[in-house]
Amino acid sequence: MGKLIGEAVRRVEDRRFITGKATYTDDIKLPGMTYAYIVRSPYAHARIQQIDTSRAQAAPGVIAVFTGEDVKDVNGLPCGWQVNFRNGDTMKEPKHPLLVADKVRHVGDNVAMIVAESREQAKDAAELLDIEYEVLDAVTDPAKAIEEGAPLVHEDVPRNICFDWEIGDKAKTDKAFADADHVVSLEFRNQRLVPNAIEPRSAIGVYDAARDKYTLYTSSQNPHLIRLLLCAFVLGIPEHKVRVVSPDVGGGFGSKIFHYAEEALVTWAARQVGRPIKWTAERSESFVTDAHGRDHVTRAEMAFDKKGKIVGLRVSTVANMGAYLSTFAPAIPTYLHGTLLQGVYDTPAIYCEITAVFTHTTPVDAYRGAGRPEATYLLERLVDTGARELGMDPAEIRRINFIPPFDGVKQPGYQTQVALQYDSGNYEATLNRALEIIGYHQLRHEQEEARKQGRYLGIGFSTYIEACGIAPSAVVGALGARAGLYESSVVRVQPTGKVTVYTGSHAHGQGHETTFAQIVADTLGVPLEDVEVVHGDTEAVPFGMGTYGSRSLAVGGSALRKGLDKVIEKGTKIAAHLLEAAEEDLEFADGEWTVKGTDKKITFGEVALAAYVPHNFPEGMEPGLEFSTFYDPANFTFPFGTHIAVVEVDPETGKVTLKRYVAVDDVGTVINPLIVDGQVHGGIAQGIGQALLEEAVYDENGELLASSFLEYAIPRADDLVSFEVDRTVTPCPHNPLGVKGAGETGTIASTAAVVNAVIDALAPLGIKDLQMPLTPQRVWQAIQQVQAS
């Protein structure tokens, strides 16, 4: 281990953010810039009878008005993952047009784009666009959408079913349930959420006719993927003629993975207009157009034996895809949810079936955690329910069901019932540590005392597993992914020994410029300030897959580490030549090659210089010290942990107050604990948001009622407490850094912990279940109901 790996190095990128000098997409102003405003459907389902653009065209400052007619020869937005029906039929994949010509299918669907000299003029002109709609019946609830006679989102998709899918052994699971001593079941909606990164999406399209070259600036988590989809699937323009830049990006949480229509529209229209076009979402547009998260309607059952051992799990979920398939939507309820149902438990029989359906709502896709929070929520709620019904302590029931520890080296990985093989884990260790931090026995005692005083204190557990750094490409390809899931790096040692590294990962808050620099500095023995990390520009960086699914360090960091190893390998050859020693007699440490047992040495900088001024150089060796690397992992990595929430519920108002929150996570080897803790904190907050506050509510007409921050509550500072965070370390056995992933653990764990805590608090009243979010109104009503009955 070097000097910097494991250190809480303060972020090197922060200076620009804390002095107002960052460059987000909307901060970019180009000569001749024009501004686009997208006219969106106010209806969930309507036929466009007629669009009259004449008044809008004539409005002051208007340069162009584009409608569905203008882009009818342009392809729609592609989906990047194909999940076929159980019977082998192909997934239903209706066209997702950039601008709709015939029928709008959700509130916010793109109808027209107005380009003007200013934002205000474009928006003013939108008022003058005359659109006649014939309003049609809509369906927003996925369970209702599959009923016979429900309004169809796409005429050629019967019962709105996009695909159905299953995993596990149905017969074995049914038998386990038939033979079980005790069965618990829950029915719930894992409610729809709006990601709400604080930076609204933004895109600038530029076309340089003299060079026949396009540039797209976009607030994206994965610029290369956007370029590929834009060029090869949507616009059919040559990939080498397009540069995509994702500069500073103000949070993503999944919502900025996907390829959106506005990116293609501004790129396409920039050529028509002959000037750069900027589009930036207003928050109200973000609410109806950024892909939403979750929205599962689930029935889940867990079977136990007399002693509380889990003997079976059965899950049936209807997953809402929204009106069209977003980029990775089909993978979320299936390969990121169904395959996670083993959890951290040794359950011998599991079966899960998924029905994915279209509704007249904003498309649903990955939102922080993506499928794994849904899996964790149902497992953790069922385990707690089982504990309560069997009269067991929730910590104890977990303990007896945990998969025993395995390091993936001496002991093999754990083969689940649902396809995945876990890399390494020690689940009980995180539980023990969390119980110790929270002072469990004392806390239960306090709870009893509180109950005597009529106070409702609750303790909730969540022992979760996450799958991140999804890979290898061959496996995900077999599962329907239309992309690889490797990562790239270039390590460019400059002649003066300074190092520039290029990564296909993309940071939008995760601090790669620091974490990746720590890896470089330690591995090469150079000072941190001699390292520059470059990302987010397809013209600078080799083809990369970007950042989502907590993959950056495990996949991108490993690609970097492998590149650094190549630098050392070549450097050793150069050093051996210059020191007139055999390679095997050299050792490399702290930025120097030393001939073992002597004081003969040469520095990293001297070797770098020799590589670029190769006057005295090994015969036949190419000059230079630069390596490009692509790394395709052997497996996912599987972080895990135990979270415990302590809440108090006011029975008079139904308000839930968070009292304490303990998180013990295991994300493998930690490069920068400051950054990992920060990721955990933010994740916990988002999961708590789902448990207590957030819900994207549609009315029966398909209007999104929670469509601004006035109706949709994301956690504020005074909703939360300071978190008590700790770690265990079980290295990942299959990547060179031993790292797992830390970006989503908090969100995956915390929702269930908080809901379990509230139900624990209210258990004396006989409340066994509550539907999220646990708003004061909902909790109060539940209390009233049990008291009335």
């Binding site: 972020r11 500073d248 928050r283 907050a685």
Partner: protein, 156 residues
């Protein structure tokens, strides 16, 4: 119709003619090119656009540029002096009080006003003072610590 305004921003005087409907944040970003102040919503909820106007934290998306006529404004760009970070900026760096950085300018400005009014706020007071500023990355944990760091440093 355009209206002349004279505004002092970060110590510099600017005179411009603006449309009456132009928002103050638009004036800062588009007219003056001070893009350190951000727009995160259209309902005055998120606080990303918070600046100081005559010493008070205001949401610059809720004011018209003409309302700032004659006022003295402080934005993110004006907080560091001679390249030296203000203790709040330093606190956000030391305590990892930011991730994506988008809410950070508004958050720092709101914290600035808090510390002007209350030199040693406790955690509860910090959380209450910042409830008009949304952060989706940090869970506020390290933002609280950043403000505490700054308070300590200022009081030293």
């Amino acid at each position: 119709m355009e209206i002349p305004i004279k505004v002092t921003v970060n110590g510099e005087v600017y005179e411009h003619r603006v449309e009456p409907r132009m928002l103050l944040v638009t004036f800062l970003r588009e007219v003056l090119g001070l893009t350190g102040t951000h727009v995160g919503c259209d309902t005055s909820s998120c606080g990303a656009c918070t600046i100081l106007m005559d010493g008070k934290a205001v949401k610059s998306c809720t004011l018209l540029a003409v309302q700032a006529d004659g006022a003295e404004l402080l934005t993110m760009e004006g907080l560091a002096r001679n390249g030296e970070l203000h203790p709040i900026q330093e606190g956000f760096w030391r305590e990892h009080g930011l991730q994506c950085g988008f809410c950070t300018p508004g958050m720092i400005m709101a914290a600035y006003q808090l510390l002007e009014e209350n030199a040693s706020p406790d955690e509860k007071e910090i959380r209450r003072a910042l409830e008009g500023n949304y952060c989706r990355c940090t869970g506020y944990h390290n933002i609280v610590k950043s403000v505490q760091y700054a308070a300590k440093k200022i009081n030293r």
